[in-house]
Amino acid sequence: MRPLPRSGERGGRVVSELVAAVAVPHASHYLREVPREPQGHTAQVWRAVGAHLEAVRPDVLLMIGNDHMNTFFFDNLPLFCVGVADRTDGPHDEFGADPSYGMPQHLMPQYEVPVNADLAQHVRARGIADGFDLALTQEFSVDHSMMVPLHFLRPAMDLPIVPLWVNGVAPPLPTARRCHALGASVGRAIASWPPDARVAIVASGSISRDLGSPLGRGQRASVPDPAWAATVVRHLQRGEARRVVEEATADRLALAGNVAGELLNWIALLGAVGDRKPVLAERMGEGDASIVWRWDL
């Protein structure tokens, strides 16, 4: 890591610091939209978030995302999993040949991405000590959930990541309360990591999204519950994370789409940032369902 002024000290012991928290979407359609409209609103928002990450000079990006049956499958499915390795690659996705549906493997490069195994192990060990049963994978690729944000925010892939997967796709999902508490544990893990490093959390997800269920009313990818999206936005704008956690019940998420559990990645991030209000909230199309948030820390 680059030599930096001390991030912080606790009782004389140098520790690391959470320097940025951003919540972004990861839909593959951005891979078509941004090159088509490079000066459009969506492209500008991605660039602004990338610039923010550059400005805060993180040493590591802790990515919170949900796999879409690309890294894991129903044969061996963790609720929460930390990837511990020196490197990974992606996007490991196979969407098929339908041109109306984004094909990440053709619309973005295959990237090699460094992983900070030490922080990954520390997050997992700290999480287990806090009572979270975090699964482990040590040989893995990552899918668009993490690679699309990295592609837009840090295409140089020069910053090591720590991948933390939350199952948001295959019910029964972890509870919102559990995910929020896990985020708080991750925040404590970052704060107790010895190397005096600057860590940013990038959580990717969505508020209401459906892929191929009857809720989608005929669309491959859809937003079944814009009212829920608007509710979540309102709570977040007011810094009322607790209300999001309380209201994101299994039934509520089920109504919002068969991958509406993607909100749980953002709920985990809320656990790490506490009650701070976000300083940025930009809609990325799809009404309130795809938003970019940023918290200043």
Binding site: E94, G212, L255
Partner: protein, 89 residues
């Protein structure tokens, strides 16, 4: 009740080129090794995605049958049929 075998079919379609070609050429033979119930097997062979979804298969996985254009499915046909499935709650 498990739809694990249905999900395995969809996953094999995505990642296994040889299986994908066999599924196009001879669907019944391609599905033979999977531990599908008779109902699941016939629903797959007839592209009855609504039935499969009602049986508990995940739309995320079923949708690949359409995006890969197998079992008589296209995105339009899938959309028309899945609309007839039961809502989750």
């Amino acid at each position: 009740m498990s739809t694990y075998a249905v999900h395995k079919v969809c996953q094999s379609l995505r990642w296994n080129d040889a299986f994908r070609e066999l599924l196009r050429a001879d669907p019944r033979s391609a599905l033979e090794p999977f531990a599908l119930t008779d109902e699941e097997r016939e629903a797959l062979l007839s592209g009855d995605v609504a039935r499969l979804h009602d049986l508990g298969a995940h739309g995320l996985m079923l949708g690949y049958l359409a995006t890969f254009g197998v079992l008589g499915l296209t995105s339009d046909i899938y959309a028309e049929r899945i609309a007839k499935a039961r809502s989750p709650i």
